[in-house]
Structures are given as C-alpha cells and as structure tokens.
Symmetry: C2
Subunit: 409 residues, 2 copies
C-alpha cells in the first residue's frame, strides 16, 4: 500500500512511518518541521538526540535497504503543493498526524490559541478539499483524541464515536401534537473538549462528518489516548533512528514526564490531587493500530469510522505512586494549571482494535524498561527548568503557577 | 449601549447598525468590504445601488444627526488591530456578522471552501481570543444559522439549541455492571450541516461552547432563518442608506430571488421538487431580534444562550406558487444543485423572541410591497445571466447545471 504520512517527523509519525515501511508499505513523509521550530521557540529539546529528517531516512535506507521519501511543506498553507503531491503520488491512504498537539502550548497565549486553531483546521480542511479536487479515492486516517469526549464519563462507558440516544417527542412527522413517545437517534458522542487543542479535534470531527456525507470520502478517525514509551522495534535499530522524547511542561505527556522525572530523581509533579483518570496506549501499539486502521477502511458513502485507540485507563496519582515505587522518586503535588474537575472516572469501549488483533503492551511490563533504557540513558541532556507546566488555562489559575524547584535533582 | 458591529456593511449588518443607532445606541461598524470584493469577483452586483460605507455613514449623520464610526479591517487576519480596537473602544457588546455567508459560494471550488473555513473560523476565534486577552466583559452576539440543525426535523420540534436526551447505560459511576437504566443529559442539538458554509457555523458553535466554559465569556448565538425583504424604516429614510439586495445564484436567498424574478418576469427557479421546507424571518424582525438579544445577555459563567431567530417555515414550492399568483410569473423546476433530501419537514421552537416581545412581520403582509417598491423599482439593473445557481455540491450534481434561460425575460 502506498501511504503518505503527514506529520511523519513527529513523535507518533516517525515510528509509524518506520513501522509501515518495515511491513513493506511504500511510505512518503510530509512534514514542515514546525514541531522542531517550536522546540527552539520554547528553548526546549527532545530528551533523546534526534537526527534531521534527511539523516533519518538515509539511516533507514542504510539499515534496511528501504526508501522513505521526505517532503517539506506546510499542509495548512501550501495548498497547491499538497494538491500536486496527491496528484503525482496518488497514495492509497494518507495518515494525518500534522497538527499542533499540545494542550498546554495551545492555552499559553492568544498567539498559540490562534496558531493551533488556524494550523489544525486548515491542515485538515486542505487535505479533504484537495482529495475532492484531485478526485482520488484516498483513505484518510486521522489521529484524534479521547479528549473530544471531555474528560470523564457520564455514568456510562464511552462508545467508539457514536452514541445511541432517545429523545421524547410530542409531535408526529407532520407536526401534529400526539402522545409523548421516544425517538431513537445515533449521534456523534457529544463533545466537551478541555483545551483549545482538544477543541480543534472536535472541529476536525465536524469536517470529517461533512466530507464523508457530501463527497463520500473514506475517513477513519482514531480517538487516541495518551501515548507512553518512546522506542519501537524499528527506531531501536540505529541511534540515528531514535524517536523524540518530550518532557517539558508544554509537550511532555504525563506518563513520559513521570518516566523522565523518575530517571533524574526529580519529584513526580502531580497536578492537583492527581484524581484525573486518563486513557493510555503504548507507542508500539499505536503503530500497529495505524496499520490495522489502514487495512480496514470504510466503504465509500459509509460514515466516518471511529475507533478508540487506547488500551488502559489510570488515575494520574496511581501512576505517580507506581513510578515512585519502581524508582524511589518522590511525589510532589503542585496546583493544577488546567480548568477541570479534580477527580473523574473514565470507562472506554475499545473492542474494535482488540477484535482486529491488537495485543496490548501493558503498563506493568514496559515501565521499568523505559525508565532505564531511555530516560536514564539520556538524563544528562535534561534541562530541569523546562519541567514545570507554566501554561495556565485561565487567569484564575494564576495562584497555581508552580515555582521552579531548582534544586530538585 | 456601545455596540461594535462586525460585518456592519453587509446585508444584515447595515440595517442592524442603523436600527441600533436609531434606538440611541452608540454604534461602530467594522468591515473589510470582502463582500463587495466578491461582487466584483463574481461580476454580480446588488440589485439596489448601494453607496460606499463612507457615503452611508455621512448620509446617516446628515439625515439623523447620529454618528456611526466605520473601521476597515479584517477580523480574521488583523488580530492586533482587532485587539487594539477592543481595548480602545471597550464596547459593551459585539455583534458578529463578519463571515462568508453563502452556501453556494462556499461549495463552488476548493478555493472557496478553504476561504470560507479559514475566514469564518479565524474571525470567530480571533474575536474570542481578543476578548480574553483584553480581559473585557463584552457580550458577543453571533449570527448563526438554522442550517446547523441540518435541513429537516427528526420527528420532533427543533429546540432552541439544546436537546434533552436519554442514554441507556448498564454501568454505574464506578464502572460496575448494573441493570440497564436511562441517563439524562442536555446536549447541543446534534449538527448536520448541508454545506461548507453551514459547517463553519457548527465550528463556531464549538468555539463558543469552549470559550463560555473556559473563560466565562458571555455569548448569544442566534440560529437565524433565511432573511427576506430589503428595507427597514431606517434604510428607507434616504436613497444613500439603501440596503443591498442579492439575487444572483450564489448570494441571492430563495425568497428574495423569487421576489426579484417575479418583478422582472423571469420564471421562478425552483430547485428539484421544491419540497424543501425552510425557516424565514423578515429583515425588520431581524434588526429587532438583535436588539432583544443585546438586552438579554447571559450571565458570566452561564452557558451560551441560543435563540432560534425565525418566524415562519414554508416549503419552497409553496412560496413559488404564492409569488406566481401575486405577480403572474411562471414557475420553472430546475435540477437541484445541492445534495439534500427532495422533501423535508421543519418544525421549530421560537418562543424566546416571541416571549421577549417580537411582533413578526408576516409573509402575507410584506410580499407585494417588496416586489413593487424594491424589486420592480430597480429591475433595469438586473443581469439575467447571474440568476441561475451554478455552484454544484458534488460532481454527480453535474447533470443538474441549469442552462441559462437567455430569453427568460
Ligand atoms: N502524543 C500523544 O500522546 C497523542 C495522543 C493523542 C493524539 N495524538 C495525535 O497524534 C498526532 C501526532 O502527535 P505527535 O505526538 O506525534 O505530535 P508531534 O508534534 O510530535 O508531531 C506532529 C508533526 O506534524 C508536523 N506538522 C504540524 N503541523 C504541520 C503542517 N501544517 N504541515 C506539515 N507538518 C505539520 C510537526 O512538524 C510534527 O512533526 C497529533 O495529531 C496528535 O493530536 C497524540
Ligand atoms: N442573509 C441571510 O439570509 C442570513 C441567514 C442566516 C444567517 N445569516 C448570517 O448573518 C451574517 C450576516 O449575513 P449577511 O447576509 O449580512 O452577509 P453579507 O455577506 O452581506 O455581510 C457580511 C459582512 O461581513 C463582512 N466580512 C466578512 N468577513 C469579514 C472579515 N474577516 N473581516 C471583516 N469583515 C468581514 C463582509 O464584507 C460583509 O459586509 C452572516 O454570518 C450570515 O451567516 C444570514
């Protein structure tokens, strides 16, 4: 299968590209390196030393003999280049990772709010409009987030995208008053995003529903949990293939932050009570899920397929305690910079991927390995001042800015 | 009240500005004149000869002694100007009309799809981000559309924005299996937009819900029906105050197109069977609704207020027949360029505005007057070649391109 990977230089996109190439697919990466530019803007850096995209694909060729092409352009801005690219390459599928993906970064200031909305909405709309204009039957696999559901469960298991509901009506089709009776509908699960970033995934979802209905585009939207882990079988083949590892307050995701903090003996920073329950998936399962999704496209005219791409849920404080136990690190409760409930439940349906053959990597199996093989190995590259999360959801969170624990190490 | 009107040079914004000024409010117009530029791009023109914004506000001053300021900038692009403007003027409210609002125009080609999504999403997001950044307590009144509900009714009356639903669950809050039991929720009415334009109003709705929740902005979203009529008491005061009247296939809305077609003896172009039911409101009621909405803002921290701003629903073919009767024009069924059901029902709750004192102008009362005082008066300015709707929703609508009925007059 010929697959274009938009955002293929990123944390998920790079290992997904290597995995798919390894499986024999013809992979082409598109990326404008905006993520690397944000590293510079934030003065932060991947804990792992990542090679340039050119070095990366050259190393892959050297190690495996397989070619991955790399194109540098902006999917949200360079529409004509994108259209040309699709017309020339005619990929069977496009995997769309090319978005600004950090909630804290998206909430930092108006510039970031505007960039996130503009970049993510236009990237997705450009892709869909270009497929329609090129008149190609390309399967789009998009990386969404569990966060569109809103954090927490409303006393039910969160289904895979669509929710069966009943509405009481006291009129008939023609508008006459009748006895109240229930009407059945199936709708997109009502969204309740917790940040500007998460909100853009709701905007994406709206775009997908429209293009699937109007233009019969084939689209799969993966509502992904938080990725943990860094290396896959492929990125481990050569030092130059190493994946990025974000640990800073903006881009570092909760479990990877804990792993790194444990490795450098920094207190594990738990926001608030740590009562937030989140969904997780290991990076090796993520790449496998992408391939499964590619192999199971919807038919033309079918509605958007939505899969929940997560394997476990955990409370943040339980994760912190687990890591503390493994590593001997301390747990530090800091004020929560986000606007969210202190505690929430989260129960999620994730049968589709399991039914299609996914064998999950369990947290219990992988944690220690990640701390030792990755986080500890590159610990001397860590900049402690980048660890605290300083992006506030609202002014009233100001009391919550965690001080830099300078002597934390 | 000091009110900024974004999009105040447009078909709705101009009469709303004059009405609010006439009621004693302090009105400031912001508009980048993109609508006038699109007229040039399409080679189409308002049936009525509209003055420049500068002439318009000068004439208003001359006729009434009241000042309306006019600022020319792009709300979707000139963020710093917008922020400065809000900080300097500190309006009590902003009425947000500044969007690309024609469904056919939005579906014409990728350029227009992209422009519509980019312009409308960024205009709304810029406004909301700027209010947060300026830290001002400004009430935002936005013009949405009945089209976010999807055309048609699912066997119930369409409520004002929010829908009470029941979901059957077989687990309890802690995730234990229990007897199936209903859970009650109130959600945004599930959206089903019929064009890229309508879809941008769903994107807006998502932005509003987020900023109301996270930043406690006070927002009212008016789900407006199709406006008909052209003149208000204020625009009729002087020829230089005249409002625009669109009749072309892109911007002309169905009833105003019929009015104009009737006036020039062009056959009334009914798309498909004309079985589509649409919601309508007269332009004089629209301006009144805006003032009512301004006078009834939500409290800080309250969810977005949503009102259905429409007074009547009609089937398109019934409107055509009514106009044919009044004017003697013929009815011509042409293939439908849109992708939609041939026939639909539409029942809508619109109690809020009626309860707050709106006295609707009935179709039956105003139609003849519009045909004679406006459409017939400027009939010699009409360009018949601009009447057919040529924008197709999909390639498969191609059979549906109506030929130009050159000798229609
Ligand atoms: N990392 C996670 O835990 C996680 C969880 C859920 C969902 N996701 C989703 O998966 C996707 C990838 O996430 P990630 O962690 O790999 O993020 P990342 O920032 O590491 O990768 C995104 C890549 O896309 C590129 N990009 C962004 N905008 C672009 C544009 N306009 N044109 C071209 N390239 C562009 C960036 O340069 C970057 O290389 C995102 O959409 C994210 O929302 C990630
Ligand atoms: N006309 C109707 O029947 C109708 C029905 C339902 C809803 N609405 C809504 O009401 C609003 C106004 O509609 P209208 O019929 O007056 O349309 P219009 O095109 O006549 O007016 C919109 C005005 O906004 C301006 N504008 C657009 N983008 C801008 C930007 N980025 N910066 C500054 N100015 C910008 C345009 O120049 C124009 O003057 C729209 O949001 C529309 O969706 C209209």
């Amino acid at each position: 299968m010929k697959v274009a990977i938009l955002g293929g230089d990123g944390f998920c996109g790079w290992p997904a590209s290597l995995y798919l190439s390894d499986q024999g697919h013809d992979v082409i990466i598109v990326d404008n390196l905006s993520r690397r530019a944000i590293d510079e803007e934030l003065g932060a850096e991947s804990l792992t030393p990542i090679a340039t995209p050119e070095e990366r694909v050259a190393a892959w060729k050297e190690v495996t003999g397989k070619e991955i092409a790399f194109h540098n352009f902006n999917v949200a801005e360079d529409y004509d280049t994108l259209l040309d690219f699709l017309r020339t390459e005619q990929p069977d599928a496009v995997v769309h990772f090319a978005e600004q993906r950090a909630a804290p970064y998206s909430m930092k200031n108006s510039k970031n709010k505007r960039y996130t909305v503009d970049n993510n909405t236009n990237a997705t709309n450009n892709l869909l409009a270009a497929i329609v204009e090129a008149d190609l039957d390309i399967h789009v696999v998009h990386l969404g987030t569990m966060g569109v559901y809103g954090y927490g469960t409303a006393g039910m298991k969160i289904p895979e995208g669509y929710l069966e509901i009943q509405v009481m009506s006291d009129e008939d089709e023609a508008g006459n008053k009748v006895e109240p009776h229930p009407i059945e509908m199936e709708i997109l699960y009502p969204s309740n995003p917790g940040s500007i970033y998460h909100m853009t995934k709701v905007l994406d979802q709206t775009l997908f529903a429209f293009y699937a209905k109007n233009d019969e585009l084939r689209i799969t939207d993966l509502h992904q949990g938080i990725i943990w882990g860094t290396t896959t079988e492929q990125t481990a083949k050569d030092e130059r293939l190493i994946n990025r590892f974000d640990y800073d307050g903006d881009y570092g995701t909760v479990l990877n932050r804990f792993l790194m903090q444990a490795a450098v003996d920094y207190p594990l920073t738990v926001h608030g009570t740590g009562g937030q329950t989140r969904a997780f998936i290991h990076i090796r399962d993520m790449v496998r899920c992408i391939e499964i999704a590619l192999q199971n496209p919807p038919a033309r005219g079918e509605r958007v397929k939505i899969f929940n791409q997560m394997t476990e849920t955990h409370r943040v404080r339980d994760l912190a305690n687990l890591l503390a136990e493994i590593s001997g690190a301390e747990v530090a409760n800091v004020p929560n910079p986000r606007k969210e409930s202190a505690e929430n439940e989260l129960h999620v349906v994730n049968e589709t991927f399991l039914d299609l053959g996914l064998k999950p990597t369990k947290l219990a199996d992988g944690l220690l390995h990640e701390v030792e093989e990755v986080a500890r190995k590159y610990a001397d590259r860590a900049d402690m001042s980048k660890i605290p999360a300083r992006s506030l959801w609202t002014k009233s969170n100001e009391a919550g800015v965690p001080a830099v624990t300078a002597d934390a190490k």
